[in-house]
């Protein structure tokens, strides 16, 4: 098989990670227009939960993943009820400032508790190494990542398209006022969606450690990539996040492989180009 398939595979895997990190923000931004720049702090939280459970309590890797999800979701509910709720109708700028403050606090807390060093994590043996197939090497961990992400995507789509709650969310994203008028409890729907999105970010953070590492600056570094995915994909759209994440993941990796000299520029050029062509994003449903 020509190396392009290996590159595509790697790119898709990286894209899947970005998807898990971004999908929550896309839906909550689309639904409530709440600019949550602290989204990646939840991802970071999930990562640190996994590290703690594995390195201090000896949990197996797989058991820590649901724990990361739940921990991030719970913390997000607490924050949402206590603080964020009051700012749904505040200006964009106030929301930015508030959530940036939360990011700063989370980074400092992580540095205090865990130090600023990289967090090592030992994956189970069958997830290390690679599988040789038709002359190419497919990393086992990337296969795992793609599988998990696809599974979650299917679950999300099923939940959104085939459940009543999903219909309520879609209604709230499309036209909040109308949805309220029809008696849908938009606030409750939002709270649950926020928790879900943050939980997914937490899961993404846990899965990210073995691929891109974890340290307290994670909350800021990946915020940029998540914002890129969300703006390119379009707000409030799961499919948009999915498509944008794959597009960006593949172009980033392919760019670095084929033309390393402009590898670092490519992701920003692609983003600027796509946003200029489609300001609403590829599949955006709401004007930001």
């Amino acid at each position: 098989m020509p190396p392009v398939f290996g590159v595509l595979f790697d790119g898709v895997a990286y894209g899947m990670l970005l998807f898990l990190l971004s999908v929550g923000l896309s839906v909550t931004l689309g639904m409530m227009n709440f600019v949550n720049l602290a989204h990646c702090s939840f991802a970071m939280l999930g990562g640190y939960v996994t590290v703690t459970l594995m390195n201090f309590f000896g949990w197996p890797f797989f058991a820590t993943l649901p724990a990361a999800f739940i921990a991030a979701a719970v913390v997000s509910i607490v924050l949402e009820r206590a603080v964020f709720r009051r700012f749904y109708h505040a200006s964009d700028l106030d929301q930015c400032l508030l959530t940036i403050g939360v990011v700063f606090v989370s980074i400092a807390a992580a540095a205090y508790i865990y130090g600023t060093d990289q967090q090592p994590v030992r994956l189970p043996d069958f997830l290390r190494g690679s599988i040789a197939l038709a002359g190419l090497n497919f990393a086992a961990y990337r296969l795992f990542l793609i599988t998990v992400a696809l599974l979650i995507t299917v679950l999300l789509v099923v939940a959104l398209e085939m459940t009543r709650f999903g219909a309520q969310i879609r209604a709230a994203v499309n036209n909040q006022r109308m949805a309220r008028g029809l008696g849908i409890d938009v606030d409750r729907a939002f709270a649950i969606t926020f928790a879900l999105g943050s939980g997914l970010a937490g899961l993404g953070g846990a899965l990210a450690i073995a691929m891109v590492g974890l340290d307290p600056s994670f909350a800021f570094t990946y915020l940029i990539y998540v914002l890129i995915v969300v703006s390119v994909g379009g707000l409030g759209s799961i499919f948009g996040s999915f498509a944008a994440a794959i597009l960006l993941g593949v172009s980033d990796i392919a760019g670095k492989y084929y033309v390393p000299a402009i590898g670092s520029f490519l992701i920003y050029l692609v983003m600027i180009g796509l946003i200029m062509a489609r300001p609403r994003g590829l599949f955006g449903r709401r004007q930001a």
Binding site: L93, G101, L227, S231
Partner: protein
């Protein structure tokens, strides 16, 4: 349309542009570090530079409603221009400042053609993208910019041949403060003019402005160019007073910091930006001195506290307080 109604906007602007005593008090207070805190003049000069940078962002964000996450691009262009001009042999600060301002302004003008077409999230992401691209380009062009190590060989000549840049920072602060004050006067005049009113109109309701025939795109391009020029001058000041320029003048951290300073102080009030710069820079210096590893924590709490307690930033909260006191008395 009687002459009274035509005169009304003119009178409104006239009353707005009168100098009030808090303003005069503020500018007199900026002279106090020379006497009260001469050990802190270097910090004061960097606060003045930050204040000028925040001022430039306020013009596009507070008055024209354009959120930019890449404003450091213009700051960096100005810094590198001033640095390179000095490195190539011409270290005279005032002309270097002008050249840097013109180059940054030109860059602002060119990018404004793209930027003026977008609002909200697309605008944020495009400005972010431009900033990040520029930083990568500066790293790649290390033959020009010095890359990671930074630009070496900058030497700023004494101002007017007499005022040498000393170790204590007297000249640095005096220079930065003077430039800040002059540009502030210009910005103040600009925002209290019909053009300034037009900008506020664009910020509040762009479609309506277009409906009444205002050339919104052209106004946005103009203010963006001006803001770029001012940001470039701030960058040049940093390059000249510290004789250092490195990649982080173009970085996301700097763009994010200036945005935080502006929102903290209060957008759209000119003085808000200045206040935000002072509070943020001083707080950062003090927290950092107290406990270097964890100053982020206290800054984060400060930001959260300000948002919870003072809507519209520090100045917004203060003016609310002043109004309440006035109403009570």
């Amino acid at each position: 349309m009687t002459s009274a109604t035509i005169a009304a906007p003119h009178d409104y602007l006239q009353t707005q542009t009168r100098w009030r005593w808090p303003e005069i008090g503020f500018w007199l207070a900026t002279l106090s570090p020379f006497v009260l805190a001469p050990d802190y003049l270097l910090l004061a000069s960097q606060v003045a530079i930050a204040a000028l940078f925040v001022l430039s962002l306020d013009l596009i964000l507070g008055f024209a409603g354009m959120v930019s996450l890449g404003h450091a691009a213009y700051f960096g262009v100005g810094a590198y221009t001033a640095g390179l001009v000095s490195k190539w042999g011409w270290g005279e600060p005032l002309t270097g400042l002008l050249i840097a301002g013109l180059v940054a302004g030109a860059f602002g003008y060119l990018t404004s053609f793209i930027i003026a077409r977008f609002r909200h999230l697309p605008l944020i992401m495009i400005t972010l993208g431009i900033g990040l691209l520029l930083q990568e380009a500066a790293n790649s062009a290390s033959w020009l910019t010095g890359g990671f190590d930074g630009l070496q060989g900058i030497h700023t000549w004494p101002i007017a041949g007499k005022f040498h840049f000393d170790l204590y920072g007297y000249t640095a602060y005096g220079y930065a403060l003077a430039v800040l004050f002059l540009i502030f006067l210009g910005a103040r005049r600009l925002t209290h003019s019909p053009f300034g009113l037009a900008l506020r109109g664009i910020r509040d309701n762009g479609e309506r402005m277009r409906a009444i025939g205002a050339p919104t795109r052209s106004h946005i391009r103009t203010i963006y160019t001006i803001a770029g020029m001012i940001a470039g001058i701030a960058g040049a000041l940093l390059a000249q007073t510290t004789e250092t320029v490195s990649l982080e003048v173009l970085g996301f951290q700097r763009s994010a910091d200036v945005l935080v300073m502006l929102i903290l102080g209060g957008v759209g009030r000119l003085y808000g930006g200045l206040l935000g710069a002072i509070v943020y820079m001083v707080a950062r210096d003090q927290f950092s001195g107290l406990n270097p590893q964890y100053w982020y924590f206290w800054i984060g709490l400060l930001l959260i506290a300000v948002v919870l307690v003072l809507p519209n930033g520090l100045l917004g909260g203060l003016s609310l307080l002043a109004r309440r006191l006035k109403a009570a008395s």
